[in-house]
Symmetry: C2
Subunit: 239 residues, 2 copies
DNA sequence: ACCCTGTGGAATGTAAACAATAAAGCCGGC
DNA sequence: GCCGGCTTTATTGTTTACATTCCACAGGGT
C-alpha cells in the first residue's frame, strides 16, 4: 500500500502539494485571515520555487480561501457572518432538493449505506469521539448529495461546505448538539425511505437551518471567549 | 473615456487578457472541443510568455471551459447533454428560490428595472434582434438573482449559466421561442409583484424547465443538421 | 504639527532557460 | 505482416533571472 501511496504522492504536481500545504497553514491559523501569502518566503519554506506557490495561490483563490490583488499578492480571506448565512441558505436549498429527489429514487443499498453512517455516528457520540462524529456528519451529507444523482449540485454543495468548514469546525463542541443533529438525520432518513419527497425536503431544509443555528451559537461562544487570539494573529511565516 | 478605458486595460494582468483571448478562441471555434491548448504556440501567437498562458488555462479550468491533465496539458472541454441537464436542474432550484425570496422583498425600483428589461426584450423581438434578446434574457435572470440578495447563490447561478451558454447560444433561434420565453418572464414578474412567493417559485422553476426544453430541441435540430463540422474540427492553432 | 513628495527597498508580474514526462516514430523479432 | 520495446521529439513542469509595481519612510515645506 505504501508504494501506491508513494506513487500517488509522486503523481501529482508540486502545485497540488503546495496547495495542500497552504490550506493546512491557513487552516491551522499560521496564516491568519488578512495575512498576505509571501511568495518567496513560502517557496523557501516549502522547498520549491515561486511558480508552484503562485499556481497554488491562484487555485486557492478559486476555492475562496484567498483573494489576490494585482501587484499586491494573495491575502487570506475570511468569511463574514453574512456570507456564511448566505452559504447556509444555498446549502439548505440544495440539500432539500437532493433529499426530495432521493426520496423518490432511493435504492436499498443506498438506504443501507445511509443508515450505517447514522448508526456509526451514534456510536461515536456515545464513545465521546467528536472528531469522528464530525467526519461522519460530512459523510452523511455528501452521500445524500451523491445519491441524489446530480453531480453539479453535489459539487456546488461540497465546495461551499468546505468554505464553511473554515469557520464551522467547533459547531458541534456542545455535546447535546451532536445527538440533536443525528436525530434530525434519522428523521430525514425515514422520510426518504417512506418516499415522501415533500417531507424529506422540509426536513432537510430544517436540518440545515438547525445547523446554521448551531453555528451561530458556537460563533457567539467563540467571540465571548476571546482565547489567546492576538498571539495567534501575530504568528507569521518568517524566513 | 478612452484614457479610463486604457487605464482599465492596463490595470489588469496579462493573465486576464490572455484568459479573455482564450475564451474568445474557444468560443469562436478556433479551439474546438477536445483540442489541446499548446502553451508555447498560444504564447507566441498572443505575444506573451508561457507563464500567463498557464495561469489563464488554470483559471479556465475552474470555469469549466477546459480540463487540465498532469503532464498532458489543458484540453477544451465540452459539456455532455447529461451535464447540461443537471445544470439546468441546479439553476431551476436556484432561480426558483431566488424568485420566491424576491417576491417578499422586491422594492419599487427593482420592479421597475425588471419591467424595463422585459419591455426592452419585447421590443427586440419585434425588431428582429435575437442577439439583443439573448443579452436581455441573461440580464433579466441575473438581475432576479442579484435582487434576491444572496450573493453566493447568484455567483453559482451565473457561473453555471456561463457554462451552459457554450452550448445554448442557438436555443432561441426559433422566433416563437423568444416570445414564449418573455411571456414567462412577464408572468413571473407579476407573481413577484403580487408578493406570491409560492407562485413565483413555481413559475421560475417552470421557466427554467421550459428553457431546458428549448435547449433540447435546439440541440436536436443542430444534431440533425450536421453542418461542415469536420472542417471546423481540423482548424488548429499553428505556428 | 501636519501634509505632501521623492526615494529606496521589497514583493509581485513576466520572461526565458532547464528538467522531466509522455506521446510518436522506428526498428527488430516473431 | 503485426506486435512489442526502444529511441526520439515535442510539450509540459519547474526553476531561475529580469522588469515593474507598490509601500514605507525620510525629508522638506506650509
Amino acid at each position: 500500500m505504501s508504494t501506491i501511496q508513494a506513487a500517488r504522492e509522486a503523481a501529482q504536481s508540486l502545485s497540488s502539494k503546495v496547495q495542500a500545504a497552504l490550506e493546512a497553514l491557513i487552516w491551522s491559523g499560521a496564516l491568519p485571515p488578512g495575512a498576505r501569502l509571501n511568495e518567496v518566503t513560502l517557496a523557501r519554506q516549502l522547498g520549491v520555487s515561486r511558480g508552484p506557490v503562485r499556481e497554488a495561490a491562484r487555485a486557492l483563490e478559486r476555492t475562496g480561501l484567498v483573494t489576490v490583488i494585482l501587484n499586491r499578492g494573495a491575502f487570506v480571506r475570511t468569511l463574514t457572518i453574512d456570507e456564511a448565512m448566505q452559504i447556509y441558505e444555498l446549502n439548505s436549498v440544495l440539500f432539500g432538493s437532493a433529499a426530495a429527489r432521493l426520496a423518490v429514487s432511493c435504492t436499498g443499498e443506498q438506504a443501507m449505506a445511509l443508515r450505517a453512517i447514522v448508526d456509526r455516528m451514534d456510536q461515536r457520540i456515545a464513545g465521546g469521539d467528536p472528531e469522528g462524529f464530525f467526519a461522519g456528519n460530512v459523510e452523511f451529507h455528501e452521500h445524500v448529495m451523491a445519491f441524489s444523482g446530480n453531480a453539479a449540485m453535489e459539487a456546488v454543495y461540497v465546495d461551499h461546505t468546505r468554505k464553511l468548514s473554515m469557520l464551522r469546525r467547533r459547531s458541534f463542541d456542545r455535546a447535546g448538539s451532536m445527538a440533536e443533529a443525528n436525530a434530525e438525520h434519522r428523521r430525514l432518513l425515514e422520510s426518504i425511505l417512506a418516499g415522501d419527497a415533500a417531507s424529506a425536503r422540509q426536513l432537510a431544509e430544517q436540518h440545515t437551518r438547525s445547523g446554521r443555528a448551531r453555528f451561530l451559537t458556537a460563533i457567539a461562544y467563540q467571540e465571548a471567549q476571546p482565547r489567546a487570539a492576538t498571539a495567534a494573529e501575530k504568528t507569521r511565516i518568517n524566513a
